[in-house]
C-alpha cells in the first residue's frame, strides 16, 4: 500500500498482479480447496522465477531485493496475494529465508537458500505452540545441547505448509534462552500431523518432537540467544500478514461498492442509502488506517526500528480486527448472496480469519501492548 513505490517496485507489483490473476484466479483457488496441499508445485516454481522467493536471499546466492528494503518489497507481493486470496507458502518460505539470511552461517545459507530461491524446496517456520502461544517467553519446546548434538522435545502447532516443507526452522527453549534449529523433513524423532484450516488453500499442521537429534551445526545463530532473531522474524511475519489482510479487505470493499451501485432496491441503488454509506465511510477510515500502519510496520522492520516491537502488535491488533470487520460489513451490504458459496466474499472472510488467528490474535496483541506500555509493572499479560 506504499504510496511511493520505486519504478522497480511498481513494475514488480504489476507483474505479480497479472501473474496471480492469470495463473491462480479465484476459480483456481476454488479448485485448490479440494486438494491436499492447497497449491501446485509447478506454479510455485513460476512464482519463484518472478522473485516471490528471492527478496531476503543474499545476492551472493542469487537472490536480492528490489529496493534494498526487502520487507517493503515483500509486502507488495503479500498485498497482491491478499487481493486474490492466492495460494502458496509465501509467508513461511520468506520468513525462514530471512531468518537464515539474517542469522544463518554461510554453510546453512548455502545448503538451504538455493532450493527455496528456485521454489524446488519449501520451508516452514515451526514457532507457535498448542494453545496459540507465540511470544518467545511462552515457548516450552526444548532444544537441549548434548555434546555436539541438539535434542528436541515438545510440540509445535498451526505450522503453515509443514506438510510439504523440506526444512523446518524450529524455535525452542535452551536453558534460560531460546534457540532456532533447522530440522530436515523426515528426521527421526519428529512426527508431523497434517491439517487443514478455514482458508481455501492454506494448510497447516502440528509437529511433535520426541528426542529428534540434530548436529549443533543445525542451530541458527548462537544457541540460547535467538530472542531478537525470533522477534524480528515475528515482525516480518506480521508485516506480511497485515499486508495480505489489507489487500483482501481493499479488494472486497471495491467489489462490494461496485455491486452496491448496481443493485436497485426501492427504486434506488443500495449504496445511496445513508446508513449504508456511513458504514462505508467508517470502513474507508479503517482501511486507510490499516494501510498506513501496515506500511509503517514494513518500513520499521527494514529499518530495525526500536518501535517495531510495539508497532507490530499495534498493526496486527488494528488490521486483524478492522479488516475482518470490513469484510464482514461487505457481507451485510451484499445481503443474502454474500453468505452463499457461489459469491467470492467467503474466500476473503476465510483468509482474514486465518490471518487474524495466527501469529497472535488482535486480543493477544492488545494484551501485549498494555503490558509493554504499563509504566509501573513489567507486564499485565
Amino acid at each position: 500500500m506504499n504510496l511511493e513505490l520505486t519504478d522497480e517496485q511498481a513494475f514488480f507489483r504489476d507483474t505479480a498482479r497479472r501473474f496471480l490473476e492469470s495463473e491462480v484466479p479465484l476459480t483456481t483457488v476454488r479448485e485448490l480447496y479440494d486438494t491436499v496441499d492447497g497449491f501446485d508445485r509447478a506454479w510455485w516454481g513460476k512464482a519463484a522465477e518472478l522473485g516471490f522467493t528471492s527478496l531476503f536471499v543474499p545476492e551472493s546466492i542469487g537472490g536480492g531485493s528490489l529496493s534494498g528494503n526487502p520487507t517493503q518489497d515483500a509486502v507488495i507481493v503479500a498485498e497482491e496475494m491478499g487481493r486474490l486470496v492466492s495460494p502458496g507458502p509465501f509467508l513461511p518460505v520468506n520468513v525462514v529465508a530471512a531468518g537464515l539470511a539474517w542469522h544463518g552461517t554461510d554453510a546453512q545459507r548455502a545448503e538451504i537458500l538455493p532450493g527455496l530461491l528456485s521454489g524446488e524446496a519449501l520451508a516452514a517456520w515451526a514457532h507457535t505452540e498448542p494453545g496459540g502461544h507465540w511470544r518467545p517467553e511462552q515457548l516450552t519446546t526444548a532444544a537441549t545441547i548434548e555434546g555436539d548434538e541438539v535434542v528436541l522435545h515438545g510440540e509445535k502447532a498451526y505450522v503453515e505448509a509443514v506438510g510439504v516443507a523440506d526444512h523446518l526452522l524450529v524455535t525452542a527453549r535452551s536453558g534460560d534462552g531460546v534457540s532456532q534449529v533447522l530440522v530436515p523433513a523426515g528426521t527421526p524423532g519428529m512426527a508431523i500431523v497434517r491439517g487443514r484450516s478455514i482458508d481455501m488453500t492454506r494448510r497447516f499442521g502440528r509437529v511433535t518432537f520426541s528426542g529428534a537429534r540434530l548436529p549443533v551445526s543445525a542451530i541458527v545463530g548462537e544457541p540460547g540467544n535467538a530472542t531478537a532473531a525470533i522477534e524480528r522474524q515475528l515482525q516480518l511475519a506480521l508485516a506480511l500478514q497485515c499486508a495480505e489482510t489489507v489487500g483482501g479487505a481493499d479488494r472486497a470493499l471495491e467489489f462490494t461498492i461496485e455491486y452496491g451501485h448496481d443493485r436497485i432496491a426501492f427504486g434506488r441503488p443500495i449504496v445511496s442509502f445513508q446508513a449504508l454509506k456511513h458504514r462505508v465511510a467508517d470502513m474507508t477510515v479503517q482501511l486507510e488506517g490499516s494501510k498506513a500502519v501496515s506500511d509503517d510496520l514494513a518500513a520499521a522492520v527494514d529499518e530495525q526500528r526500536d518501535d517495531a516491537v510495539v508497532l507490530a502488535s499495534v498493526a496486527k491488533a488494528y488490521v486483524g480486527e478492522h479488516c475482518l470487520d470490513i469484510i464482514d460489513d461487505c457481507v451485510q451490504i451484499t445481503g443474502g448472496m454474500g453468505v452463499t458459496w457461489e459469491h467470492d466474499l467467503h474466500l476473503y472472510s476465510r483468509r482474514a480469519l486465518i490471518d487474524r488467528a495466527t501469529y497472535g490474535t488482535p486480543e493477544e496483541h492488545k494484551q501485549r501492548i498494555v503490558g509493554r506500555i504499563a509504566p509501573t509493572r513489567d507486564a499485565v499479560a
Partner: protein
C-alpha cells in the same frame, strides 16, 4: 388482525384448568427429552389429535379454540416437564397458519388449515427473489390469470426448507401498471410434483448444502381458489406474514412454540461459561472479560426483552411490530458472540488436524453468522421498521412508491 383473546369468553377454558389438563396430558403422552427423538411430524399429529395443535386457532379450522396465553402455558409446561415438542413447525404453524387465518377466505381456511395444523402439509413462504430480499414489494415473479387458473412465472430464493414443503405462499405481481404495492397478490403454490416447479438447494458459504433453496416457476398452473387475500391485495397479506415471522423468530405470539423464551439464533454453540473456561485456559480471559461478559449479558437481556415485548403486546402497551426489537437484538448479539468466540478460540477455531474439511469450529460458524442479520428481514430493515412504524419517524425518500411499477423498472434499468 384477529385477536384470539376476543373469542368466546364464556366458553373458554380458564388458564388454570387448561394448565392442569395440559400438564397431565403432556406428562402422560409426550416423550421425554431424554428419550429417543421422535419426528416432529409425528409429534405434531399427536398434538393435533388431542386438540393441542394450533391452540389459539378456531376449532372449526382444526385448532384448539383457545388463546395465545393458553398456547404459552402449554409449551411452558412441556418445557418444565422436559418433554419433546415438534421443532420444525415455526414456519408452518408460527408464521403461515396465522397469516392464512388473518387473510384467507373461509373456504381457504377450511381447506388449508387442518392438514397444516395436523402436520400433514408443510408450508413455507416464498417472498424474497434472487435480486434481493429487502425490497420485497419490488417482486417481479409474475401471476397471470388464465381462465379459472393462474400462470405463475419467475424465481424465489432464500426459502427455508422448500425441498421439504408441500405449499409455498408466494408473493407475485399480478398488475404491473399500478404502483408497486398495489399490484401484488399472494397465492398458495403446491410444490411437490408440480409441473413447472424446480427447487434447488443453495450452497452456503461454509460449503454445505444450505437449508434454504431457490425455486424456479415456469408457467405453473395454480387454481384461483389458492389466492390468500384478494387479487392485488397481496401486500397486506405479506405484511401480516412478516409480523408473524418476526414474532416466530422472537418466539412470541403465535410463534411461541418451544417453551424456550430465547430465540434459537442467539444460543451460542459454546455456552458462555465454556467460553470463559477456554479463555482462561489460554490466558486471555482478562483481555476478553468485557466481550465475555457482554455475551453473557446478551443471553440474559435477550429473553427478558422478548418477555417484556410479549407482555406489552398482550397488555396493549406495545402496539405494532415490536418483535423487530427482539429480532434486531438477537441478530446483533449473535454476531457479537460469534466474534468473541473467534477471539477465544484463536488458532484452534480455524485450524484443525487432518485433510478433511471440518465444520465444528468458530471460523465456520463465522462464515454463516450473517444469516442472523439478513434472513427474515435484515438488520437494516428492522431498523427502518422500528423507527418508521414504531417511533413514527419519516420514511426514507423513495421515488418508487407512486409510479406505476413498470415505470419504476424502466427507470432503474436506465441508470
Amino acid at each position: 388482525m384477529r385477536l384470539p383473546e376476543m373469542g368466546d369468553h364464556d366458553t373458554l377454558e380458564s388458564l388454570d384448568a387448561f394448565e392442569a389438563r395440559a400438564r397431565a396430558w403432556i406428562a402422560a403422552t409426550l416423550p421425554s427429552l431424554d428419550d429417543e427423538p421422535v419426528e416432529s411430524r409425528e409429534l405434531q399429529r399427536l398434538l393435533f389429535d388431542h386438540g393441542f395443535a394450533g391452540i389459539a386457532f378456531p376449532k372449526e379450522y382444526g385448532g384448539g379454540g383457545c388463546t395465545l396465553q393458553h398456547q404459552k402455558v402449554f409449551f411452558e409446561a412441556a418445557a418444565a416437564l422436559c418433554r419433546q415438542v415438534p421443532t420444525t413447525n415455526h414456519v408452518s404453524i408460527g408464521m403461515l397458519a396465522p397469516t392464512i387465518l388473518d387473510h384467507g377466505s373461509h373456504e381457504a381456511k377450511l381447506r388449508f388449515l387442518p392438514p397444516l395444523l395436523r402436520g400433514d402439509e408443510v408450508w413455507i413462504q416464498l417472498l424474497s427473489e434472487p435480486r434481493g430480499g429487502s425490497d420485497m414489494a419490488g417482486a417481479i415473479t409474475s401471476l397471470k390469470g388464465d381462465g379459472d387458473t393462474y400462470l405463475l412465472t419467475g424465481a424465489k430464493m432464500w426459502s427455508t426448507g422448500a425441498h421439504l414443503a408441500d405449499y409455498g405462499l408466494c408473493l407475485c405481481r399480478s398488475d404491473w401498471d399500478v404502483p408497486k404495492h398495489q399490484g401484488l397478490s399472494m397465492i398458495a403454490v403446491p410444490l411437490r410434483n408440480t409441473v413447472g416447479v424446480t427447487i434447488e438447494h443453495i450452497r452456503a458459504a461454509d460449503g454445505t448444502r444450505a437449508s434454504f433453496c431457490q425455486e424456479f416457476f415456469d408457467d405453473v398452473r395454480v387454481p384461483r381458489s389458492n389466492l390468500i387475500g384478494e387479487e392485488n391485495q397481496g401486500w397486506a397479506v405479506a405484511q401480516a406474514l412478516l409480523v408473524h415471522e418476526r414474532n416466530a423468530v422472537a418466539n412470541i405470539g403465535y410463534g411461541y412454540l418451544t417453551g424456550n423464551a430465547r430465540p434459537a439464533s442467539i444460543t451460542p454453540d459454546l455456552s458462555v461459561p465454556d467460553l470463559v473456561a477456554t479463555a482462561s485456559h489460554r490466558g486471555i480471559d482478562g483481555v476478553l472479560a468485557g466481550p465475555l461478559a457482554d455475551a453473557y449479558i446478551a443471553s440474559v437481556v435477550g429473553p427478558l426483552l422478548s418477555a417484556r415485548i410479549s407482555a406489552g403486546i398482550r397488555l396493549g402497551t406495545h402496539k405494532g411490530p415490536w418483535g423487530s426489537l427482539s429480532k434486531l437484538h438477537g441478530a446483533v448479539s449473535a454476531v457479537e458472540t460469534a466474534r468473541t468466540t473467534l477471539a477465544v478460540g484463536g488458532p484452534d477455531g480455524v485450524v484443525w488436524d487432518g485433510d478433511e474439511v471440518r465444520l465444528d469450529n468458530a471460523g465456520t460458524r463465522w462464515l454463516g453468522i450473517r444469516g442472523n442479520t439478513l434472513a427474515g428481514g435484515s438488520n437494516e430493515m428492522q431498523r427502518n421498521i422500528i423507527t418508521e412504524r414504531l417511533l413514527g419517524l419519516p420514511r426514507e425518500p423513495s421515488s418508487d412508491r407512486e409510479l406505476p411499477f413498470s415505470e419504476v423498472l424502466r427507470r432503474a434499468t436506465a441508470r
